[in-house]
């Protein structure tokens, strides 16, 4: 830790000098940016060509998809998006509120670990999607069923990462705190929590992705409301271009919520790069 990686420092200094100001750096990277645009263009071209193949007539072209996206009923679409997003937010929030304290307790105490972590460990290999039928049996309302699924999917990564964070704190940090006379409470707020937060945020980052996956799965099965149901219904009613509009919307929303979690992490844990 204490040694400086001189080669890296020198290399980055040389690079900075070679690049000069920002705009010049941008200019020197023009071939790279062009190549990236070519990449997306090629992808759309191959997709269009693919949709023209005789045995892939059912596959819509990018133009078809764009067309049906433009003809979308904005109001209905916004309702679906908001329904899915609110389910994700609720399930994710409950998972964080329950999972983080639980993970900290399990990480702290061996007794709680044996008592509470054993069932968690046994349940983890069962994919959350396999819980859908039981969730339908248990929850009379579709909303609660889907919120439960997003909660369940998000819960495990949060608990696991929190436990890992707490149990991997460097012993020297704790000893330093103790020898400076910190009480258990101070030790928790000043040492354990700051050291664990980055790992907790890794868990939250994974969890928001799983929550989106679960909301789509639950909505596809329940087939009533939300972006997952919209995508599945587009298939059932043979409005094939709409399938891809749905997929793209799911992708964009998932991506935006990951960015949100990452931004929050940057805000909360400024000491970690």
């Amino acid at each position: 830790m204490a040694t400086v990686d001189y080669t890296r420092v020198i290399a980055s200094a040389q690079e900075r000098r070679a690049r000069g100001p920002r705009w010049r750096a941008l200019r020197s990277n023009v071939p790279g940016i062009l190549l990236r645009l070519v990449s997306i263009a090629l992808f759309l071209l191959i997709w269009s060509a693919f949709s023209l193949l005789p045995w892939a007539v059912q596959v819509p072209s990018p133009a078809d998809v764009l067309n049906s996206a433009l003809r979308l009923d904005a109001r209905e679409y916004a309702t679906d998006l908001w329904l899915s997003a609110s389910r994700v937010i609720l399930g994710f929030a409950v998972a964080a509120i329950v999972g983080i304290p639980l993970g900290i307790l399990i990480g702290y105490s061996q007794i709680l670990r044996d008592l509470l972590f054993t069932p968690v460990e046994l349940l983890r290999p069962v994919p959350p999607i396999a819980w859908i039928p039981l969730a339908i049996l248990f929850f009379p309302a579709i909303d609660w069923m889907i919120i439960f699924l997003t909660f369940y999917g998000a819960f495990f990564p949060i608990v696991y990462n929190t436990v890992a964070g707490v149990s991997n704190i460097r012993a020297t940090y704790l000893r330093a705190g103790q020898s400076l006379g910190a009480s258990k409470w101070t030790l928790f707020w000043e040492v354990v929590l700051p050291a664990t937060l980055p790992v907790i945020f890794t868990g939250l980052y994974i969890a928001i992705g799983v929550a989106w996956l679960m909301v789509v799965a639950g909505e596809m099965i329940a087939n009533k409301g939300g972006i997952g149901a919209m995508t599945w219904q587009s298939y059932q009613t043979t409005q094939y271009p709409m399938i891809f509009v749905g997929m793209a919307s799911i992708g964009v929303l998932g991506y935006m919520s990951s960015l949100l979690v990452r931004g929050l992490a940057r805000l909360v844990i400024r000491w970690e790069s």
């Binding site: 702290y108 994919p127 039981l134 298939y235």
Partner: protein
Amino acid sequence: MQQSRRGYPLLRILSLALIVAAWDLLVRFRIYRFGYIPSPESVVSAGAQYLTSDVFVTDTVASTIRIIAAWGMSAAIGIPLGLLIGWKAWFSNLTFPVVEVLRPIPPIAWIPAGILFFSQIELSVIFICFIGSFFPIVLNTIVGVRLIDRTHFRAASCLGARDWQVFRDIIIPGALPSIIVGLAVGMGINWMALVAAEMIAGDRGLGYRIWEAYSLAQYPRIVVAMVVIGAIGALMSIIIRYLGHKIVPWQQSTIRA
């Protein structure tokens, strides 16, 4: 925190016993909606019946073949792709934007498109599982290459190594630990995608059995199929972790499935 703890095995057994007892009582006294959930006894008897039937064997074989086919294909395509993206900037610029655009779409959202692409059930299920494991494998491979110490490359070029020698002796062994992590993560997501695909679009397999048990109101069998899926999934991740330790013994601690 406390590194040298040994734990209390009795407490673990107690914990499980408590869970099963709570489950049994909640179902027996029909508390809230637990009356709709199968009881532990009914699950055990349904399990004994299912595990000795031929359907169990055909389901397990069908699901395992799908998983292995999808996983193998995503490794065969994803690892070389990731190595090249991590290594050559021009190749990264050319292909990585597409990977980045498609990656946020979860495998479940590909189910209708998968059915559309492949009219056959078998191929669409394999395709959806392929999507599930492809992205973690590609991304972990790229990270593996990018994390290789730059001095290795400089040393190699000082010693006059050719491109393919760099690839063989630096890129591949350097990225291997991260690739194995990607393979393990991919296997986990594969099971999730398999269950979803078989539930929605399947004709057989363990995920399909869960859904069939639900629609035929054979509720105890739902739990049996869940347990079997969990057990096989756990077994596969143990095997991958074990093989990972064998393949990269110099990196013991980083491999966590």
